[in-house]
Amino acid sequence: MRLLRLVSGRLVSMIATLLVISLITYAVFVLLPSDPAQLSCGRPCTPERLADARAFMGYDQPWVQQYLAFLGGIVTGRTFGSGAAAVHCAAPCFGYSFQLNESVTHLILERIPVTFSIAVGAAVLWLIIGVGTGVISAVRRGTAIDRAAMTFSTIGVSAPSYLVGLLGILLFGFTLNMVPVNGYVPLTEDPVGWLWHLVLPWCVLALISAAVYARLTRGQMLDVLGEDYIRTARAKGLRERRVVGRHALRNVLIPVVTVFGIDLGSLLGGAVIAERVFSMPGLGALLLDAVGNVDLPLIIGVTLFSAFLIILANFLVDLVYGVLDPRAAP
């Protein structure tokens, strides 16, 4: 019951946040000098044709009105054009991409499995590697292991992901010929192929984020190890592994989880660079294409969806928080 109230309260604020995001996105693209109608006008493009195309897509109206129409479409669905060529987009309609001739909702749903596969795998991997490295580093503080781990994480922090990605492809894909270099195989079709195609993107993303987590974990761990209850745990005669792995880690994870929520959320909204480099048809690639084509409905749709995921991830993190930290329990 209390959970229900909590969830509904959060839902309201989530929707408010999403509204603001969609509004900003709309406004931003109205300010852009580029004209979506121009792109779908064809060549040569006469002013009359341009006006026609604009009117059909609804871009001739003031943007506030466009925005309201968009919001309405989510609830009731929308129809563009009229007669035999009319396009209907069923509710919940997050817009219709005229360039891809597909409802945005459908496009997003189609891309979700790819992005989720990348994001979840990578996140699991980097959490394990990052937190592991951070813990070892903190426990063995000042030793060569610590220095090595932190140097490694420095590389990870500073390396641009496209660099790591492409070098990874060159090394593991071409030179060593170990893994496929790109493409995506649905899990349902071929689980092994799915795994095999995702190994490299996972590792690349994990390598980069793990570095950040290693630093974060190390810092938190150093703090926690100075706490009295760690001394108590040791005084109980627990093995050091248990002291660190249970008593300290649980407390360390609390702040780590916050950051993780943000990161995972934004990754779920599209692992843009990884998808580009590894030619994975995920949400990030979709967004990038949409931006390149000024496919406004698609941009707004994907933006909103990503925002939704990020906000959702944060909400889930708050719930996990309650489990990790009883003091914060709802």
């Binding site: 040791r234 005669g237 627990l238 050091e240 649980r250 407390n251 930290d325």
Partner: protein, 576 residues
């Protein structure tokens, strides 16, 4: 098996010591310099005995105990020898240390709230201690755990086991801590200030428990305390530590009766005494529970602090009902008057203090300090008012910013309210350190690098830095050994006579209250149940609650304390 407290002395010569500390020295490295904390300390503890480690704050008591467990931080350098049943502990293999910790030596730490992991339930933490040393099943561990929690006198073991530390009171936590410490039937229990954080009634219960455990389980106890009353209550032998060195070791009775070392004598001399307990004529039948003695307006001058029907509610957790911490208190403190506030834990003492300082909003009633209505004062008025207010918080450790040095903390009011030049500030800080008996080298230390008593004195120095008109002192000497406490109390007294400030003195140590206070107010469940001149209230309590409180306070005399203990038991059984 029943063992009388005196029996171990008879067998002492025939048994080899359980714990032998020989030539122990501990040094800390701080910024490249070494600071000795313990020098060449030697003493012995035999099975089934209670050895009290006493001495002034910062004398190395806790460090000695931690050395035995191998739990000192990496900055410590330890030499000498500590043996447990003949096995050397210093520099021992990790596996041996692990077996000793928790298995053979149980430990109770100073602050239970900090010493328990906030994210695990009590049951979880205690069961873990059991399973660390015994290969028992989960369910067996649970059974044992409930048994242990019951053993330490917790009412509802199942509920306590399910609770997280923040959901329990200090006394409950301390008991749980003890349960954890004795879970593997250790041969030795190290108890570092096991009752400091607790009020006298709870303290009496815990001491009773320790005594009982010692007897029932034949456990030796290394008791660290600065409270000579506690020592008198439970100790068989006493080791007096000063500045890291053992100055005297003797059986308790002998020590109290005929202290050999001068320092010991000074220590005992400094112990404040309570008047003889007169429990003869309690009037429990119809206590004027809600009728405090009428306001004493004889002082003539306008009171500095005037409380009228003050109610303070804390908002409850998430839609729960609010907690009423103070419930209709009327109180006044005259100019230059020292009023003591006593009462058991959770009775609302600290809350009242905070309400006077304007730190918690008052739900109803008015708080007037020096003519300022604290509840409705502007920010500016509050600021001016606070420049004349000194406040010592109950928990010295947390009232100091962990990132600032002692010097910086003490200088804070100076820089806030005066325009002293850095040199003058420095000078004043040194003066203040002197006044609270701290060496000036502590200036640059962080709270983490000081002992509990040292931190408390820093907090006091900060509170008196501006010679306040009103001092609110919340258990200002709880972590201090008697000698330092005596000097601090002396300091307070002299400052007060010099500057004539008013003082609200919150304490659970009735002996101290007796020495210091002009008037005493007894708080029970947020209400003042008894109020009057110190002498009257402490000598002839009218309210049964006051009587119980008085009986629970230990005195530094084993013989007399035995009597009081009996009286207290009688009272508690009568009231429950």
């Amino acid at each position: 098996m029943t063992v009388s407290p005196t029996e171990p002395h008879l067998t002492k010569a025939t048994r080899s010591p359980l714990l032998a500390v020989a030539g122990l020295a501990v040094e800390f490295e701080v910024d490249g310099d070494t600071h000795p904390a313990v020098r060449n300390a030697s003493f012995e503890l035999h099975g089934g005995q209670v050895l009290a480690l006493v001495g002034e704050s910062g004398s190395g008591k806790s460090v000695t105990a931690m050395a035995a467990l191998g739990l000192l931080p990496a900055t410590a350098r330890v030499s000498g020898s500590i043996t447990l049943d003949g096995a050397e502990l210093i520099g021992a293999e990790p596996s041996l240390l692990r077996e000793v910790r928790g298995g053979r030596i149980g430990t109770i730490f100073q602050e239970p709230m900090a010493a328990l992991n906030p994210v695990f339930t009590i049951g979880d933490q205690v069961a873990e201690a059991i399973r660390a040393h015994r290969p028992v099943s989960r369910s067996a561990a649970t059974a044992r755990l409930l048994e242990l929690l019951a053993t330490v006198g917790l009412d509802d073991p199942a509920r306590v086991a399910r609770s997280y530390p923040h959901e329990l009171s200090g006394g409950q936590l301390q008991r749980a801590m003890i349960a954890m410490a004795i879970s593997c039937d250790p041969v030795l229990l190290i108890a570092d200030e096991p009752t400091t954080a607790l009020d006298v009634t709870v303290q009496a219960g815990i001491l009773d428990l320790l005594r009982d455990l010692r007897t029932r389980l034949d456990m030796a106890v290394l008791l660290i305390t600065h409270d000579m009353g506690v020592v008198a209550d439970v100790a068989d032998d006493v080791v007096v530590l000063r500045d890291g060195q053992v100055v005297e070791q003797a059986p308790a009775a002998q020590l109290f009766a005929a202290p050999r070392h001068e320092y010991t004598r000074a220590l005992l001399h400094a112990v404040p005494t309570l008047p003889e307990l007169r429990l003869a004529e309690p009037e429990p039948a119809t206590p004027p529970a809600h009728e405090p003695r009428p306001l004493d307006t004889s002082a003539g001058t306008t009171p500095v602090v005037l409380l009228r029907n003050v109610v303070v509610d804390y908002p409850g957790r998430r839609r729960g009902r609010p907690v009423r911490a103070v419930d209709g208190v009327s109180l006044h403190i005259g100019q230059g008057e020292l009023v003591a506030l006593v009462g058991e834990s959770g009775s609302g003492k600290s809350t009242l203090g905070r309400a006077i300082a304007g730190l918690v909003p008052v739900t109803a009633g008015t708080v007037t300090v020096a003519g300022v209505d604290v509840g409705h004062a502007s920010r500016r008025e509050l600021r001016t008012f606070r420049s004349q207010l000194g406040i010592v918080f109950q928990d010295p450790a947390s009232s100091l910013n962990p990132r600032r040095t002692a010097g910086a903390s003490i200088a804070e009011p100076l820089s806030l309210h005066t325009d002293l030049r850095p040199d003058a500030q420095r000078h004043r800080v040194n003066e203040l350190l002197d006044a609270v008996e701290l060496p000036s080298r502590l200036r640059g230390r962080h709270p983490y690098e000081m002992s509990g008593g040292q931190r408390q004195r820093v907090a006091i120095a900060r509170a008196i830095a501006l010679n306040p008109a009103l001092l609110i002192a919340d258990e200002p000497t709880s972590a201090l050994d008697v000698s330092v406490q005596a000097r601090i109390l002396e300091l307070l007294r002299s400052l007060q006579s010099q500057f004539g400030f008013s003082c609200l003195f919150i304490s659970h140590d009735l002996a101290v209250v007796e020495q210091l206070a002009d008037r005493v107010a007894v708080l029970h469940r947020g209400r003042v149940v008894e109020e009057g001149p110190a002498d009257d209230v402490l000598r002839a309590p009218r309210h049964p609650y006051t009587s119980r409180l008085l009986a629970a306070a230990p005195v530094a005399d084993p013989a007399q304390q035995a009597l009081r203990r009996a009286a207290w038991r009688q009272l508690t059984t009568a009231s429950s």
